[in-house]
């Protein structure tokens, strides 16, 4: 009784704050937490019911791990897992190396005005949607009119049907990803480099350190915390991919699925194209669950090495 009274008193005291978080909390309830509860569909044979979501769930038959068994008995499970992890791994490594390099290059360019122009130019792709980027890609890769086939043609190379040859797509996707993300991430690293206390460099100069030694011993160690945080965030999301890159840029081309299908596109097609609700929910849950474990482990690892650099 006393506890309840105190609780009511507390609620009343925090009334204003509770009103403030209410809209956001409702949003999280409907768009995050109810869907989390909804993952129970993964263990059911889902049937639509006219009385809505709850009725559909209640009236669907419980099938236990069947959906997962089906999923992992197909070759798709292997392909989408492999594609998702490998692409993301390459994206993380190449993205880190290229954007740190580009940030250092931008910070060292003597003419600051020019550097600003370069920076603005490479920032552009960040502001474009994958739809627009896919049009860009098409203007180069179109089999009959594309600029690339014309260029190859002038060297006497036969035109290539880019949108049906799987061999090129791993390279195309990695390059497209770099093209779209380097500008943004390198500008973020650049901001960190510019924020480094100038007196470190002055002290190094007095000691006779040259430019390379300064970069290696001051710049890189100083942006290392940011590198670790951003990489950690990326590793935590290694099971998620950029849907637009894998769905839109290859123009949803069926003959490319073996190299472009990732978990996200698989789940989308399961939901909207083939209607395998149970199985695609299972694939989504598999993604969330492994992703969750990965975030926790990578964070724990960093925590062990350096407590300050862990995310939580």
């Amino acid at each position: 009784m006393k506890a309840t009274l105190r609780f009511i008193k507390d609620l009343n005291k925090n009334k204003a704050f509770l009103w403030m978080v209410l809209p956001g909390a409702l949003w999280f309830l409907f768009f995050s937490y109810l869907p989390i509860l909804g993952t129970v569909i993964a263990f059911k044979q889902y049937r639509f019911h006219k009385d809505g979501f709850l009725a559909s769930i209640i009236n669907s038959q419980w099938v236990g791990w069947k959906n997962f068994e089906f999923l992992f008995s197909t070759e798709d499970a292997y392909i989408i897992t492999r594609n998702t992890i490998l692409y993301n791994f390459i994206f993380i490594v190449s993205g880190l190396v290229c954007s740190v390099l580009m940030a250092i290059i931008l910070s060292e360019i003597v003419n600051r005005k020019l550097a600003k122009w370069y920076q603005t130019g490479m920032f552009l792709p960040h502001f474009l949607s994958w739809i627009v980027v896919s049009y860009f890609a098409f203007s180069f890769l179109s089999a009959d009119k594309g600029a690339l086939n014309q260029l190859l043609g002038s060297f006497g190379v036969e035109p290539i049907a880019w949108y049906s040859e799987t061999a090129y797509w791993p390279y195309i996707l990695v390059l497209m990803n770099l093209w779209k993300t380097i500008g943004y991430t390198s500008v973020v690293y650049l901001a960190a480099i510019i924020g480094i206390d100038k007196s470190y460099y002055e002290a190094a100069m007095i000691d006779g350190a040259n430019k390379w030694q300064q970069i290696r011993n001051i710049t890189i160690p100083m942006i290392k915390p940011l590198m670790i945080i951003l990489t950690l965030l990326a590793i935590g999301r290694i099971f998620y991919s950029d849907f637009g890159l894998f769905y839109q840029v290859p123009r949803n081309s069926g003959s490319l699925f073996s190299v472009t299908n990732v978990i996200d596109t698989y789940v989308y097609r399961g939901l909207k194209v083939s209607g395998e609700i149970g199985m695609s929910t299972a694939a989504g849950l598999y993604q969330s669950f492994i992703g969750f474990i990965l975030v926790l482990t990578s964070n724990a690892l960093v925590r062990k090495i350096n407590k300050d650099q862990a995310l939580f």
């Binding site: 507390d10 204003a16 704050f17 509770l18 403030m20 809209p23 956001g24 909390a25 949003w27 409907f30 768009f31 995050s32 109810l34 869907p35 989390i36 909804g38 993952t39 580009m102 290059i105 060292e108 020019l114 122009w117 370069y118 603005t120 130019g121 490479m122 920032f123 552009l124 792709p125 960040h126 502001f127 949607s129 739809i131 627009v132 049009y135 860009f136 203007s139 180069f140 600029a147 086939n149 943004y184 500008v187 973020v188 901001a191 960190a192 100069m205 350190a209 040259n210 430019k211 637009g244 123009r251 996200d264 789940v267 989308y268 939901l271 909207k272 609700i277 929910t281 989504g284 969330s288």
Partner: protein, 320 residues
């Protein structure tokens, strides 16, 4: 010029002095050229595709059909644009949808996010730990696409409504994190306390004291949201079938394979004369023109706003 050597110091001395300052504070000319080349070429590569599509949209349709996509077309033309403005009611419609969801969505998300983040930033809020967890857990774990789709369509019934384009993008725990950090670092406790002493309510303090101090933070989040709404096509792909509710990016997606879509709302479909015009439509070039019209505003505006985008991520990466 006979007297020139008098004014310049002996070449040897000048060079050593120059080299000394060069070695330690900035790149040597050789490496500076290399650095300029790498950064310059990459930034041109980033802008070039846009310029290429711009050129294609001003190419003559027949030239394009014959020669393919070329950087220097044989014949220029503005047919694509005049066709779009004549028959493309759909373009106008989609522009309207995108503008509407961008404005309403950004305002809504600014209100919800800043209120939530402000409450989390206040130490006197007893349940801040709980509500922080509620928000940040969503960054670590989610139910996946299918249950999200089911809740949205079968429980909230937002399929084929404008809300399907607004609500899903409206809140984001990462933005709340950024905004909370902003409040914690930019708004001194003393100011809030002074407001409380003067007898102002929490909402009053928030509105008249805190918000004016947090404008840079609001600008950052607002621009993130604006970009998110303007470029969104995924929610339209999931939820929208009614052509009247198709936003710009989704429209670009639909005309990828055929241009019929932009003619749906056109009055010309009914008359014979109109059908003739439609048959002569410059398909390829108008598609490119649509891309330009949909991205133009962003390309023109982003150079002025880019610093806020960097600010957001660097602040977000700072822990409390």
């Amino acid at each position: 010029m006979d007297n020139q050597p008098v004014y310049t110091s002996p070449p040897g001395i000048q060079q050593t002095r120059k080299r000394k300052s060069r070695d330690f504070s900035q790149l040597s000319p050789f490496w500076n050229v290399i650095a300029n080349l790498i950064a310059g070429v990459f930034s041109i590569l980033c802008v070039f595709p846009f310029v290429f599509v711009l050129i294609l949209s001003f190419t003559d349709e027949d030239t394009l059909a014959m020669n393919g996509y070329r950087i220097f077309p044989e014949k220029w033309s503005i047919d694509a644009y005049s066709y779009i403005f004549n028959v493309g009611n759909q373009l106008l419609r989609s522009y309207g949808v995108t503008l509407f969801i961008t404005v309403v969505g950004t305002l809504l998300s600014l209100v919800i996010i800043s209120l939530y983040a402000y409450a989390l930033s206040r130490k006197s809020f007893k349940y801040r730990g709980f509500f922080s967890f509620i928000a940040f857990f969503t960054l670590l774990f989610n139910g996946g696409l299918v249950p999200f789709y089911m809740v949205a369509t079968q429980l909230l019934h937002i399929k084929d409504s404008i809300w399907a384009l607004i609500l899903p993008l409206c809140v984001n725990a990462f933005y709340i994190l950024i905004m909370r950090t902003f409040f914690l670092t930019m708004v001194p406790d003393a100011i809030i306390e002074s407001g409380k002493i003067d007898g102002a309510s929490e909402f009053r303090v928030f509105r008249s004291l805190v918000l004016p101090l947090s404008l840079p933070g609001l600008a950052t989040i607002g621009l993130f949201s604006t970009l998110g709404y303007w470029n969104d096509w995924f929610n339209a792909l999931l939820f929208i079938e009614n052509p009247k509710l198709v936003p710009l990016q989704a429209m670009l997606m639909r005309i990828e394979n055929n241009m019929q879509f932009i003619l749906q709302n056109s009055s010309m479909m009914s008359s014979a004369e109109g059908l003739e015009i439609i048959r002569n439509m410059p398909q390829d070039t108008s598609r490119m023109a649509m891309v330009i019209l949909a991205t133009g505003p962003i390309v023109l505006a982003y150079p002025f706003f880019q610093r806020y985008f960097v600010q957001g991520l660097t602040i977000g990466a700072v822990k409390e």
